[in-house]
C-alpha cells in the first residue's frame, strides 16, 4: 500500500502482442472445451470416449494407469500426442492447453501478490519427487496420489464443488423470482433453456464438496507466493513434461541484442529467466507462453530449433530424490496394505457396477485414476468420492452411497465415461444383472415390521422384473384390540443386485430400514 505509485505500476505491466493474444485464445478455447466435455458428461446419449478425452490426453494418468493395471488402455496412446508436443515445444501444454494452468492465469492474483520474492529454486524439485512417488506407487499398484494430477484436480472440483453450488444459486434465484408475475414467463423460459444445457435436472450433492473446494482454493491461493506456483513447484504432470522438455526442439535463445533490461525476467510467469545466467531459461520450466518474446523491446529473444539435451539444474531429480520417492511410495503402499481395511473391507464399500470384478484390488480400486468422470456422469449423485470407506489407499475412488442416490436401473453412464478401465463399459442389459451389493432389511426400524403401519415403499421401488422384495401377508393385533392386515417386506437376496433405490427411498428418518451391504465379504478364513 505504501509503495510508490510508479513502482506499483511497473509491477502491473504486462507484455502484449499477437503471440500473446494467440496463446490466450488457444488457452480459453481449451478451457472451454474442457468445460464443455465436463458439461456433456452427464448427457447419457454422448459417446463416453469423447467425454473423457482430456484424461486420455494426460500422459501422467495414462502411464500411471499402465504401471498399476499392467494393461494397455484403449485410446491411451493419445497421450503420446502431448509427449510429442513436449519434445518439440517443451511445456507448451502448460502454457497453452492445460485448463488448470489457464485457471491459474485467470486468478493470477498478481496485484495481491505484489513484488513478493519467489521461493527458493529448490522448491522446483518437489514436482519431480511427487512425480516419481506417483509412478513408484503406481508400479506397486496404488494410484491415490493421482489426486494431484491437474486434470483430475480440476475435474473433481468442477464436479463436486463448482457445479452444484452454481446450480443452487440459480435455483434459489428462480424460486425467489418466479412468483413475481411479470418474471414468471422469462424465468420458466430461462430454466427450460439453461437447465438441459448446463445444470443437473435434479440437485446433486457431494460429501466432499467442501474438502475439494478447499484443496482447489489452496492451489489457487499459492499464486500469492509466486505466479503459477502450482505449475512451477508442485504439478507432477508439469514435472513429467519437464523431463521430456530437456530434449525439446524449439528452445528459447537470447541474442547479443540483450541489454539486461529485466523486462523478460519480470514477465516470465514461471520465473525461469535468470539474470545471473545471462537471461537464459530452463527448457523444462519454460511453458512457451511467449510473454518474454513480446516483452523484449530489442527483439533479442527467439525460439529456434536445436537438438541437444538441456543442462541439468540443481533442482532436477537426482538419484537421491528418486530413491527417496520410491522409498516413500513403498512405505506408503506397505502401510496401506497392512491397514485393517485390507484385511476386511468396509461393509459399505459399494463399487460402481462391474468395478469390483474389473480391479485386482477392490479397496484401492487399482485402475482408478481418481478423475471423477463417473461422479459427474452419475445422474443421481449416488456415486461419491470415497472418504472413509476405502481409507487413504482408496481415497477419491467412486463408491455408491445409496442414502444420497441410487444406481439408476436405466443408466450405465459411469462405465461409459470411465477413461481408466476401472469401471467396465457394460451394456444396459449386462449392468442390470451386475451385483453391486445386497440389501438387508433392518426390522427394528421398518415401519411395517416395527410400527405395524402399512408401508412397502422398498417393494414398489425395486426395479427388478421379478422383484427382490416379497411381501408376507399377516394379521396383527393393533393396540386398540382390532386386527390389522399387514404386508411385511422380505428381501430375496439371490435376486437383489444392490442398486440401493430401496435404501434411498425408505421413508424412515435417518438411517434407512433397508440397507445395501457389500455383496460377499472377503472372509479371512
Amino acid at each position: 500500500m505504501s509503495r510508490p505509485a510508479v513502482e506499483q505500476k511497473k509491477g502491473e505491466w504486462r507484455p502484449s502482442g499477437p503471440w500473446i493474444t494467440a496463446r490466450k485464445v488457444v488457452q480459453y478455447l481449451s478451457l472451454l472445451a474442457f468445460a464443455a466435455l465436463f458439461i456433456t458428461a452427464s448427457k447419457t446419449d454422448w459417446n463416453g470416449s469423447l467425454v473423457n478425452l482430456p484424461m486420455r490426453l494426460d500422459p501422467l494418468l495414462m502411464l500411471a494407469n499402465l504401471l498399476a493395471s499392467r494393461a494397455f488402455l484403449a485410446g491411451s496412446a493419445l497421450a503420446l500426442l502431448v509427449v510429442v508436443l513436449s519434445l518439440v515445444f517443451g511445456r507448451a501444454w502448460c502454457g497453452w492447453l492445460c485448463p488448470m494452468g489457464t485457471v491459474l492465469d485467470l486468478f493470477s492474483l498478481r496485484r495481491e501478490r505484489g513484488k513478493r520474492a519467489a521461493p527458493s529454486e529448490n522448491w522446483r524439485s518437489v514436482k519431480y519427487v511427487l512425480l516419481l512417488a506417483i509412478l513408484s506407487a503406481a508400479l506397486l499398484g496404488n494410484l491415490t496420489l493421482l489426486i494431484f494430477d491437474p486434470l483430475t484436480l480440476l475435474y473433481r472440483t468442477l464436479t463436486t464443488s463448482i457445479l452444484p453450488p452454481l446450480d443452487w444459486v440459480v435455483s434459489a434465484f428462480e424460486k425467489l423470482l418466479y412468483p413475481v408475475p411479470f418474471l414468471a414467463g422469462p424465468i420458466a423460459a430461462f430454466d427450460a433453456w439453461v437447465r438441459p444445457l448446463i445444470l443437473p435436472s435434479e440437485p446433486v450433492y457431494y460429501r466432499t464438496a467442501l474438502l475439494f473446494a478447499v484443496l482447489f482454493l489452496v492451489v489457487v491461493a499459492l499464486n500469492l507466493a509466486a505466479e503459477r506456483f502450482w505449475c512451477r513447484y508442485l504439478c507432477p504432470l508439469g514435472g513429467m513434461l519437464g523431463i521430456f522438455s530437456k530434449l525439446r526442439l524449439f528452445r528459447r535463445q537470447v541474442s547479443e541484442a540483450c541489454k539486461g533490461c529485466t523486462l523478460c525476467s519480470n514477465a516470465c510467469p514461471t520465473g525461469t529467466i535468470d539474470s545471473a545466467r545471462g537471461y537464459a531459461s530452463d527448457p523444462s520450466e519454460c511453458t512457451m507462453c511467449l510473454d518474454c518474446l513480446e516483452a523484449c523491446p530489442r527483439s533479442g529473444i527467439d525460439f529456434t530449433p536445436r537438438i541437444s539435451i538441456a543442462e541439468f539444474r540443481e533442482y532436477d531429480p537426482n538419484r537421491r530424490q528418486a530413491l527417496l520417492a520410491f522409498g516413500a511410495a513403498l512405505a506408503g503402499v506397505a502401510l496401506f496394505r497392512s491397514s485393517a481395511l485390507s484385511k476386511r473391507e468396509s461393509p459399505h464399500l459399494l463399487r460402481p457396477p462391474g468395478a469390483r470384478e474389473a480391479n485386482p484390488n477392490v479397496v484401492e480400486l487399482t485402475n482408478c485414476i481418481r478423475c471423477g468422470e463417473c461422479l459427474r456422469a452419475c445422474p443421481t449423485s449416488g456415486l461419491q468420492s470415497a472418504v472413509s470407506e476405502a481409507g487413504l489407499q482408496g481415497f477419491a475412488t467412486p463408491v455408491l452411497v445409496p442414502r444420497l442416490g441410487y444406481c439408476d436401473y436405466s443408466c450405465n453412464a459411469c462405465g461409459r465415461v470411465c477413461p481408466a478401465g476401472a469401471i467396465p463399459a457394460l451394456t444396459l442389459e449386462e449392468k442390470r444383472q451386475t451385483v453391486i451389493g445386497k440389501a438387508y432389511l433392518i426390522e427394528q426400524r421398518c415401519i411395517a415390521w416395527s410400527d405395524h403401519q402399512p408401508c412397502v415403499v422398498c417393494e414398489e421401488m425395486c426395479p427388478l422384473p421379478e422383484k427382490a422384495i416379497w411381501l408376507e401377508e399377516i394379521q396383527v393385533q393393533a393396540a386398540d384390540g382390532t386386527t390389522l392386515n399387514l404386508q411385511l417386506p422380505h428381501v430375496l437376496r439371490e435376486r437383489c443386485i444392490g442398486c440401493g433405490i430401496c435404501e434411498y427411498k425408505c421413508p424412515v428418518n435417518g438411517e434407512a430400514a433397508i440397507r445395501v451391504y457389500v455383496p460377499e465379504a472377503a472372509l479371512p478364513f
Binding site: 424460486k175 412468483p179 413475481v180 420458466a188 438441459p196 435436472s201 445422474p379 436405466s410 421413508p507
Partner: protein, 353 residues
C-alpha cells in the same frame, strides 16, 4: 483491494434488503398467493374451463355454475348431460381409435376442453426403465391421441409431464415413447422444474391437509388424467387417482394411510377427464414391471369425467372390486365420484380390429 467505507456498506446493504422486500411485495400483490389458488382448487376445478366461453359454445350442456355448486360432488353428477353415458369402455382396436371413439361417446373432447383452454395431460411415466410394451408407463399413442383431440377441440396449449421416481425425466420421457408421440401430436413435453411447486392446502382433505404440488397442474384450465392400469404392491392397483401422486413433491409422506391420502390428493386436483389406458395392463411386479409375462394385452380404454367411476371400473380388469383398492371407497365416501358401477350409465363400444 478497494476499501469499503461504512457509508458504502450501509448503502449497498439497504439496496439489497429493498430488493428483497420489493420481490416479496411484487410476488404477493401480483398473483393470488399460491395457497389461495390451491385452496379454492377443489371447488372450481370445474370452472377451470372459463365459464363464458363454455356458455357461448356449448349447446349440449348447461354452463357449469361452478361457484354455486357444492364443492365435493363428482363432475358427472354436477353437469348432468342429457343421454350421455357416465363412463365409456372402448375395446378392440388401435389405441388412437379407442380414445377417439370413447371420447366421441362421452360427448366429444369439446365438452371438456373449451376453445383457448390450457390443457395438461398427465400420463403415468413412473420409471425410465422400459419401453411401453412392458406396461409400466402409459401407452404413447393413447397420450398422443388425447393431445390431438385437445388441440382439435381448440386448446391453446397442451402440456404433458410426469415426475418419475426411478431414472431421470428426460430418459423416462424418451424410453416410454411418450415424448415422441406428444411432440408429433403438437403437444409440449415438459420437465417439471423445482420452482414450480407450491404449498397447496387441501381444504377437503381428510388426512392430508397440505402438500407441495405442481402449480401448472393446479392452475391449468383442464387436467386430463391418463393412467395405465397396473398392479401395485401397497395400493394393489395404480389407476387414475394414484397417478396424481406424480404431481406432488413429497411422496414418502403419502405412504402412511395411503388410501385416504390418495383420495385427498384427488380432491385437490379434480381432473376434468380420466382416461384409463388398458391397452396393456400389468398384472404383477408393478408399478415398475419389466417382465412381459406379467403383461396382458386388453386393447381397452376407459374414459369418464368421474375419476372414481373410471378407477372402479378398471378394478374389474384385474378380477377385483372397487373396495379392494383402498383409495376408491375413500374417495367415494368423500363425494369425489361414484364407485357403485351398477348405478352408472356405462356405454361399451366394440371398436373392431
Amino acid at each position: 483491494m478497494n476499501k469499503l467505507t461504512r457509508r458504502e456498506f450501509l448503502r449497498s446493504a439497504t439496496a439489497g434488503i429493498s430488493a428483497l422486500v420489493l420481490q416479496q411485495l411484487l410476488a404477493a400483490c401480483g398473483q393470488e398467493p399460491p395457497e389461495a389458488t390451491a385452496g379454492v382448487g377443489a371447488a372450481p376445478t370445474q370452472a377451470k374451463s372459463p365459464t363464458e366461453t363454455m356458455a357461448e359454445q356449448d349447446s349440449t350442456q348447461p354452463a357449469p355454475q361452478a361457484s354455486e355448486q357444492p364443492p365435493l360432488e363428482s363432475q358427472a353428477t354436477q353437469t348432468p348431460v342429457r343421454s350421455l353415458p357416465d363412463l365409456v369402455v372402448a375395446r378392440g382396436g388401435e389405441p388412437e381409435a379407442l380414445v377417439r371413439q370413447a371420447l366421441a361417446a362421452l360427448g366429444g373432447m369439446e365438452r371438456f376442453v373449451p376453445k383457448g383452454a390450457r390443457v395438461v395431460v398427465k400420463p403415468n411415466i413412473c420409471v425410465a426403465y422400459h419401453t411401453y410394451e412392458y406396461a409400466a408407463t402409459t401407452n404413447p399413442w393413447v397420450v398422443g391421441a388425447l393431445v390431438k383431440l385437445a388441440l382439435e377441440a381448440g386448446a391453446k396449449s397442451v402440456q404433458v409431464f410426469d415426475y418419475p421416481f426411478g431414472g431421470s425425466p428426460e430418459e423416462a420421457y424418451t424410453r416410454s415413447g411418450i415424448a415422441e408421440q406428444v411432440t408429433a401430436a403438437g403437444g409440449e413435453m415438459v420437465v417439471m422444474p423445482a420452482f414450480k411447486y407450491v404449498t397447496a392446502k387441501i381444504p377437503h382433505g381428510v388426512d392430508l391437509k397440505k402438500t407441495e404440488a405442481y402449480q401448472d397442474a393446479l392452475n391449468t384450465d383442464v387436467l386430463i388424467d391418463v393412467p395405465i392400469a397396473k398392479h401395485h404392491g401397497s395400493a394393489r392397483l395404480t389407476l387414475g387417482m394414484k397417478n396424481l401422486m406424480g404431481l406432488i413433491l413429497n411422496r414418502s409422506a403419502i405412504h402412511r394411510n395411503l388410501g385416504q391420502r390418495i383420495a385427498d390428493l384427488a380432491s385437490l386436483f379434480r381432473p376434468s377427464l380420466t382416461v384409463v389406458d388398458a391397452v396393456r395392463i400389468l398384472m404383477d411386479n408393478g408399478p415398475t414391471g419389466g417382465d412381459l409375462n406379467d403383461v396382458k394385452k386388453l386393447d381397452t380404454v376407459i374414459a369418464s369425467p368421474d375419476i372414481v367411476a373410471a378407477d372402479s371400473y378398471a378394478t374389474r380388469l384385474f378380477g377385483l372390486v372397487p373396495e379392494d383398492v383402498a383409495y376408491i371407497p375413500a374417495a367415494a365416501a368423500m363425494g369425489l365420484g361414484r364407485s357403485d358401477l351398477n348405478g352408472l350409465k356405462i356405454e361399451e363400444i366394440a371398436v373392431g380390429a
